[in-house]
Amino acid sequence: MREPNHARRLMLIWLIATVIVTPLVVILVGPNIPPGNASEQASGHVTDNTVLLGMATPVLLLVLIYLAYAVIFFRQPQGAALEGPALRGDTRIQTVWIVVTSLMVLVLAVYGTVRLLADNGAGSGSGPNPVAKPSGPKLPVQVIAQQWAFTYRYPTYGGVETPHLELPRNQMVELHVTSLDVVHSFWAIQLGVKADANPQVDNVVFVKPTHLGRFEVRCAELCGIWHGQMFDYGHVVTPASFQQWIHQQQVTFAPVTRKLPPYKTTYLPEPTRRGE
């Protein structure tokens, strides 16, 4: 019996599967990928993850289809113990493989770089001097990590420090993330923000919340016995509600605000009298 052209059959099956499955994955799965759309940065993550998923789907299909095809058609006949034909390389396959994978990696590298710059760091910690900064007014908020809680300081509101984070909707926020002790990581999950909180480092993140509601804050760096308990909830509120809330915080914490050190991007806390 004449051997069929396996390569052509495989390619045909893969092509049909790709044309059907990839749009379904992009349309049905893509919008449901975390972190959601609570901020411009989070929406950007969903877009990026959808693009990555869209590119990965054909690759995954190729692997799965080839596996299934091999199991069905290249099965060893029962009772036979035959060696397959020796393969000594195939310039055409190798060239296609190198060109396709190189192209994919290059495209992803360019895409990732463009997206990082266009989205002002895409919610990641960009260090003390971010390359890409959004234009227009920004609300600075300092995130202070310590074992085992985050507190927040608003320098444009008299330097008041608060135990919880509230942000106004549709306002670009400039987060300055730092730590007073060990390395932590500030992760505002639904806002698509994640930034290392290192002592003596001002790690800047830009985020623009777009939807009202609650978001979860967690430490994403193993930081000691209560790392798992280092969580809190923040809120995105209307600008009017934010003004009301921040003024209430200023009143509540007025006594302790007077005891705080002047606002700085990093702190070297003293005393460390009991430490070495």
Binding site: L180, G224, I225, Q229, P255, T272, G275
Partner: protein, 222 residues
Amino acid sequence: MSLLVRKLLAVGGTVIVLGVLIALYVNSWATSFPTSVNATKTPRQAGASLTLETVAAIGPKYSPAHPDWVSYLVRRDGKWFRSTIFTVPAHSVVHVTIYQYDGDSGLRNPFLSQVQGTVGGTETVDGKTVRGIDPEEASHTFAVPELGILVPLPGVPEEAKNQCEFAPCEGAAHRTITFSFRTGAKGRYHWQCFVPCAAGWLNGFGGPMQTLGYMDGFIDVT
């Protein structure tokens, strides 16, 4: 029985015995929680009461392995007991008294020197009602972050006579702090000290700050 089978049985048996021993050790380590202490029902006030003590060194009587570690103690049936897991009733007021026998260390974040989450937003220090203390004078805190409770505890002045060396510290120089807080729904909430008070550890953050049963624990609201 062939030599090979005997060898396999010997190796297999040894591996199983070692595996069981390792599992027992890991299990005993992972489940070595301090005993939970119930808050006392208060006859005159609604709710329950907890009486605690903080000491600079727990001493060999309460912790032979770490006698020089800073620690909390709790009073149960009139006696001091080393545990940091407390059981309190849900939807009630818990009255806490802390006898503070340790010196000051200072807070790394002065923000934590203001009382938060207690009834009235206050504590009493040696009978005087205050809303906060000097951050430099803080010795410890009693904080339950999930419940929004933060109570800074001032230290015993350096010049005070009769400083406590090891627990128990009755009769030694101390500060008395009282406060009340309301409990809500049932649940397990962690509490901790925010002052880096572990003497001899890097920046005061090791040892008793990182070990359940000394400067941190759980409040079981039942």
